[in-house]
Symmetry: D2
Subunit: 158 residues, 4 copies
């Protein structure tokens, strides 16, 4: 199954949340697994969208307790490692979609670029021409699924 | 959903593998999620059992690539953190079942006891009276599900 | 003792290495401890400068073996956690000096900004007005020492 | 320089503290670097001993702030990774001395044995014949220095 991470800030405006929610919904409609950091803001909105569309969501959280996840997470992965969990989010995804985002998101984008993972951006940090810009949630997910398919095809037929 | 980790060595005898496989099967029959370290031996056998019984399996791997997991993993979580991933396995489980096991397993048991997580043992390290000994895979999973239910009931009604 | 991290790419041009070396030398002259990621390029050059000026250098490495450090490291700290070690570099510093740098450096800058750590930049990523730009190694170290003194004064009289 | 870790519980009796302090003192007299987890109990006592004898001490802490270390730490390394930092303590040592110890210590012993690091025990967990038992702090440090010299001689002439 394709694993697509949605990254973004732990607090966000209502309009950014609507975008993230639609990204999550589209990921579920594409039968991909949504990976996120398990907290609020963009992470919670994307997980809500995926969850409401019948998808499965994994929240890889920085804290120490399962109940630290937002309520839309199907499977909490509990690291207790604070920001070091960002690396686990990146490594566990075939492709990432960044929805705006603060410094934590920037650190994830940077690690993803370092590792050669595809990054799709929706109004996010403009730090590299390797970030593939999208203008709608639908386009972002389509680009992510395509990139993830290419990335995973090097790997396992599955 | 209850999350039950199966821990044990990356290489094991055929008879230990049969035990681990039956543990995995029972976890799936109890509609719990199987968490493991994603590699071979006990981890692969337990994941195979759960997978063949229709369950979902999460492999939290020490290596850097998704394809480093055994083929019975539904959802690979890629840490790239070597043995530090043991802590993530422990924290992400409501209860753990140790099937024999070497030093890596011992480190996971120790962290679980440190964190107050229930540990069920099948012929494993005898380092604490807090380890609940079981004599069959069925008994081990029953004890783990009961302990996990108690542990998770402090948490979220869900 | 003040702990100042020098961050930058694992491979760099001769002219960037000269800059990093001078940064390291200045850190030692200021009797501060140099922290770095322990590998080559900017990290090795800064450690060489500090070491040759009589300073102590700590290399927090991503790999698994002490001998994976560059030869100018006094104290190797071995994480075996790949890029997750970047967070340890950032957290262990009172202030950071970024000398140019690639995506790994960008991830460290992002984590530092997230944590509110002072970041001094020498021709580095221009992602935030909070990055204090310097034009010479001497100025960079002076700014870092001042910022580190302010940061550490909240903490312990030492 | 040889790097010797002292591991043990974060809270301990006065008599265990005296033992740990003497271990720390002996490490400093042998001009080795003391590595520890940076917190209280055995860690603080060993660091105090080493520090008072003129040695250098490194505290690799689980918490997020430099000031979370005990006051006898020369160089704080801040991981913010809770128990995952135990792996860093183990990997950064040429040899380890366990002074009694609880479950956290047991996890460090297990990782050390997994990695083939020499472990000297003073009334500690009896989980492997590979643990070299000592009866006095002096003997423990002598055994650790010898083992560390053998371990590091495979590595770098230094």
């Amino acid at each position: 199954m394709l694993q697509i991470a949605v990254i973004g800030a732990g607090q966000c405006s209502e309009s950014v949340a609507l975008t993230a929610e639609e990204v999550g919904r589209e990921i579920a409609r594409n039968r991909a697994l949504l990976i996120c950091g398990g907290l609020g803001g963009v992470m919670a909105a994307a997980a809500r969208g995926a969850s409401e569309a019948g998808g499965t969501t994994v929240g890889i959280i920085p804290g120490m307790l399962m109940e630290d996840t937002n309520p839309h997470i199907t499977i909490p992965i509990v690291t207790g490692m604070s920001h070091a969990r960002n690396v686990v989010v990146v490594r566990s995804a075939h492709a990432l979609i960044a929805v705006e985002g603060g410094y934590g998101t920037l650190s994830e984008i940077a690690i993803a670029l370092k590792l050669g993972k595809p990054v799709i951006g929706l109004h996010t940090w403009n730090v590299s021409s390797k970030i593939i810009e999208a203008s709608t949630p639908q386009e972002a997910v389509r680009l992510a699924v395509n990139a993830a398919n290419r990335a995973s095809s090097f790997v396992r037929p599955a």
